[in-house]
């Protein structure tokens, strides 16, 4: 991409990405926060006739096979999706930063050992592994979070390690070493702030992929059975797909919009923070 002539167009595109993603995400977050106000009843409650199509009176998104309000399910499901997405992304990022910065900063044997371990975790068939973890332990929010974190911290650790290695021998870091700053202080106050842009972008991608991952698990019936979630709703709509396609379609659109919003924000952040990076993907 040539500089100068393109910069205005690029900046506009960047703004469009951030604004579109931001608006969508604010909408989803507002829905999650206001779910209790908008739909105070339990989303598992039967509130109307079954199989009302979307746009029908009282039920803008229709009702499912048990007469539950789909709109209420969407609002309450937004909570669990966002909570799981954000918590797992935070935990994976923390773990990734911990492992990656130790490996990258100290190098040598520690680096080899930690990176070999990371590679092992990356070659685990992640979804199958998560299924087994949840089938053996009982599904609850905690076990779902545990299962997702176990299979998603590794790429973040590799990313952080790469960043730390490239910063490790820069003059400002060597200067701090010469001044006698402790390793911990150098990592936390000097190196990590410089690696922050890439970490933030990767963490946003992790939020989106955790939400997709969680929806897949609860679709298979491996989510917390007492919590209304989008994946669970799609799973329940599956058996009535011939007669009432919207029961499965609507919650899927909710997942799609949320993941899309986060991806757009992530792309926008990436272009804003790492303008020279060629690719927007940290890989999965």
């Amino acid at each position: 991409m040539s500089a100068g002539g393109d910069s205005l167009a690029q900046r506009l595109r960047l703004n469009a990405l951030l604004v579109a993603g931001g608006i969508l995400l604010v909408g989803v977050v507002a829905l999650a926060v206001l779910a209790g106000v908008l739909y105070p009843e339990d989303p598992f409650d039967m509130v109307g006739q079954p199989f009302r199509p979307p746009m029908s009176e009282d039920f803008p998104l229709g009702t499912d096979s048990l007469g539950r309000d789909i709109a209420a399910g969407i609002a309450h499901g937004a909570r669990i999706s966002l909570i799981i997405g954000i918590i797992t992304a935070l935990m994976s990022t923390l773990l990734g930063v911990l492992v990656g910065s130790i490996a990258g900063y100290y190098g040598g044997r520690i680096d080899t050992l930690l990176m070999r371990t990371t590679e092992l975790f990356q070659t685990i068939p992640s979804f199958l592994f998560a299924i087994v973890v949840l089938a053996v332990l009982q599904p609850s929010i905690y076990t779902v979070i545990f299962a997702i974190v176990v299979v998603s911290w590794a790429p973040l650790a590799r990313l952080v390690r790469g960043e730390v290695v490239s910063l490790r021998n820069r003059e400002f870091v060597l200067g701090c070493v010469a001044l006698g700053m402790s390793d911990l202080q150098i990592i936390i106050r000097q190196i990590l702030p410089n690696a922050l842009p890439s970490i933030v972008v990767a963490a946003s991608v992790a939020v989106a992929s955790s939400i997709l991952f969680e929806s897949g698990l609860s679709f298979l019936g491996l989510g917390d059975p007492n919590v209304m979630s989008w994946g669970l709703m799609i799973g329940m709509g599956r058996s009535v797909i011939r007669t009432a396609w919207w029961v499965a379609a609507v919650p899927g659109v909710a997942v799609l919009v949320t993941v899309l919003a986060i991806n757009l924000l992530g792309d926008g952040l990436n272009e804003a923070l790492n303008p020279r990076s060629a690719s927007n993907f940290s890989g999965r």
């Binding site: 991409m1 070999r116 590679e119 092992l120 990356q122 070659t123 685990i124 068939p125 992640s126 979804f127 199958l128 592994f129 299924i131 087994v132 973890v133 089938a135 053996v136 332990l137 989106a208 997709l212 929806s215 897949g216 679709f219 298979l220 019936g221 491996l222 994946g231 799609i234 709509g237 599956r238 797909i241 011939r242 396609w245 499965a248 379609a249 919650p251 899927g252 997942v255 799609l256 919009v257 993941v259 899309l260 991806n263 757009l264 060629a278 690719s279 927007n280 993907f281 890989g283 999965r284």
Partner: protein, 328 residues
């Protein structure tokens, strides 16, 4: 050191890594069973076999539950290593046979999905790059962004609604028409018809990914010196793109595709269960529902082997094609 020797060292290291991953999975399986409430036999028997004391006794014997933990662990390792995966109470057959019987369907689905995603993804990416700043590019990128964010199983369900129920173009589920008794070419055609939707669904996410990757890659290559040289010697645009840029630009896509075989195995669990495609994923889904955990653990074990073998094959191919990777 000679290149051949370095190549051998590299491949041996990756082989060891694959073995370690499988070992890690088996170990995790064992300790997960002990972490769960109740003893592993009652966990494994689950709701399905809880009422059957014979089955629980058989499981207790299989695990040697009266022995110390490390003996149990070694026994479990040994049994898994010798592919003694136990017996499925629910299916009334050995787990190994069940898994082996489902393997071909999964392989067919995955291989089709890999080909489809690389082919469609790199074509769309190439078109988006050469039609830069037109509506064609915008359209392709829009579709890619949507496909990248859609949950696979949901996309599969929507395809069923559209192509099978509304339009009645393609079958909704299974691998072949039940009771049709086709043979030869007709059977192959029948299976191919059943394969279209699952393979396309499984590859959707990867098509989106490779489209974007390919577009970036083509754009990068177009600004390199060899393209300028080709242009200055008067080569027509079409020949530059198809003869030179395409080959170089597709490399990152191939690398990515190789890395993602493991992820695709996970996707095939949901896709197979949506489409009733009789592979390992559907078997995992069925064993999940009947709480046949021992079978599920066996499937994970086989999945890990499958991924390790696929990775190794890719590594060997790479080491043969591009010696630079082994020197890293």
């Amino acid at each position: 050191m000679t290149l051949a020797r370095q190549r051998w060292i590299y491949i041996r290291r990756r082989l060891l890594q694959g073995v370690l991953t499988v070992f890690l999975i088996v170990t995790a399986n064992f300790f997960l069973l002990h972490l769960a409430p109740g003893d592993p036999a009652s966990v494994l028997a689950g709701e399905a076999g809880a009422s059957n004391p014979e089955f629980i006794a058989q499981l207790r014997a299989q695990f040697g539950l009266d022995r110390p933990l490390y003996v149990q662990y070694l026994k479990y390792l040994w049994e898994t290593a010798t592919f003694d995966l136990g017996h499925s109470f629910r299916f009334g057959e050995s787990n190994l046979k069940l898994i082996a019987g489902r393997l071909p369907a999964t392989l067919l689905l995955m291989v089709s999905a890999v080909f489809l995603s690389v082919l469609v993804g790199s074509s769309l990416g190439l078109i988006a790059a050469i039609k830069r700043k037109t509506y064609i590019e915008v359209g392709i990128l829009l579709v890619a962004v949507l496909a990248y964010a859609a949950p696979v199983f949901w996309a599969g369900l929507m395809f069923i609604v559209l192509f099978s129920i509304k339009l009645e173009w393609l079958p909704t589920s299974g691998m072949s028409t039940v009771g049709a008794g086709f043979t030869g070419i007709r059977y192959a055609f029948d299976v191919a018809q059943h394969l279209v939707l699952p393979a396309f669904t499984l590859s959707l996410f990867y098509i989106a990914l490779y489209t974007r990757l390919m577009r970036t890659s083509v754009l990068e290559n177009l600004s390199l010196n060899y393209v300028v040289t080709a242009r200055s010697k008067g080569l027509p645009g079409r020949r530059i793109v198809l003869g030179h840029v395409l080959r170089n630009a597709v490399l990152p896509v191939l690398t990515m595709a190789a890395v993602q075989i493991g992820g695709m195995l996970g996707g095939s669990v949901v896709v197979e269960s949506v489409f009733g495609w009789p592979g390992l994923g559907l078997l995992a889904y069925e064993s999940l529902f009947s709480r046949d955990l021992n079978l599920l653990l066996g499937i994970l074990f086989f999945g890990a082997i499958l991924v390790a073998v696929a990775n190794l094959a890719v590594d060997i191919a790479y080491a043969a094609i591009d010696p630079r990777v082994i020197l890293k």
